[in-house]
Symmetry: C2
Subunit: 164 residues, 2 copies
DNA sequence: TTCCCGAACAGGAATCATTCTTATCCAGGT
DNA sequence: ACCTGGATAAGAATGATTCCTGTTCGGGAA
């Protein structure tokens, strides 16, 4: 929907997953494939419960525990990442391209964005921190919420004032 | 220790808080001041339970609910922010200077860093996203864990992480 | 200062997300 | 098709957070 939805090659990713499992002797089960596929096909960054709910029609006996365990296992393989959301439940991200996040303080949507990676952000070396990767989280108001136009939010306040 | 200045003027912040409360007719209670002070004095980004534990000796009757409510109220005032951590509990940040985060994937410490980035990171205008602020989260291994060479403990909560 | 009122508080129950436990079940090799 | 170890389903247990209720207290008025 949003501007640059980078559609992942689902089949290729599932193949990669299958290979990774085989390599380390881990069984490739329907459930695991289903969970990973659901995540790959999700436009946003669903939490475990959302994945579970999405799959229930197709796999009526799929248990929540399996979803949680599979997501953790996928994270261990480096195929998905937890994204640090401020909401009540953890969200997962199967987009393996380096990318950043747009967090709408109004509707709590979380959208991927791929900025031109030409410029890297560097850290002072004296910190001794070894960077594996970095993600920029932009907080603000998404296009839809701006169009919808509830009160103009002034950037100085910084406070969402999301009181119902 | 480079740009890692971590000394908010506690008294000034508490004054600001008091004024903000008075302005909107909200009572300034000992509990609220204590919670905010605890957060201002915490080097890291404690979760609600850590704040509660820290304050219990001084305020033996302070209840967890009050800590949660106060943190939420402080967020509403724009004085603290939730930080999107991937751990089990939410963490809070009373550092109101624009800053970024170093997340250690080993010990789960979360450290502030102020990159004097003269240049802002820009977003393509056609996204229609109105940025209020942005935070860069660097994931990697902190200096202590690199020296230690293995998994450590979370310096904020003191809770052992995952592995025995 | 003391009195009063409404909002905040403590304590604990309830809810939500996540992890753990245990008795089956199945993927993949033989 | 048969075995077997790891995976699964179901639900109990845990942990974090929110909700509820009777009591207490901040701070304006007398």
């Amino acid at each position: 929907m949003a501007s640059h939805s980078h559609a992942p090659d689902v089949r290729a990713e599932l193949d990669r997953f299958t290979r990774a499992c085989r390599e380390q002797g881990t069984p490739v089960t329907h459930q695991r494939l289903a969970v990973y596929r659901a995540l790959l096909e999700s436009p946003g960054h669903p939490d475990a419960e959302t994945v579970h709910r999405q799959l229930r029609p197709e796999y009526p006996t799929l248990s929540a525990g399996t979803v949680y365990k599979t997501l953790e296992m996928l994270e261990g393989l480096g195929l998905v990442k937890k994204v640090g959301a401020t909401g009540p439940s953890r969200r997962f991200d199967a987009n393996r391209h380096p990318h950043h996040h747009l967090w709408c303080v109004r509707c709590h949507s979380l959208t991927d964005i791929e900025l031109d990676a030409g410029r890297a952000v560097d850290l002072p070396a004296d910190l001794g921190f070894q960077v594996i990767e970095y993600t920029i989280q932009f907080s603000g108001v998404c296009a839809q919420c701006r169009v919808r136009g509830d009160a103009g939010l002034d950037p100085d306040s910084g406070a969402p004032t999301a009181q119902p």
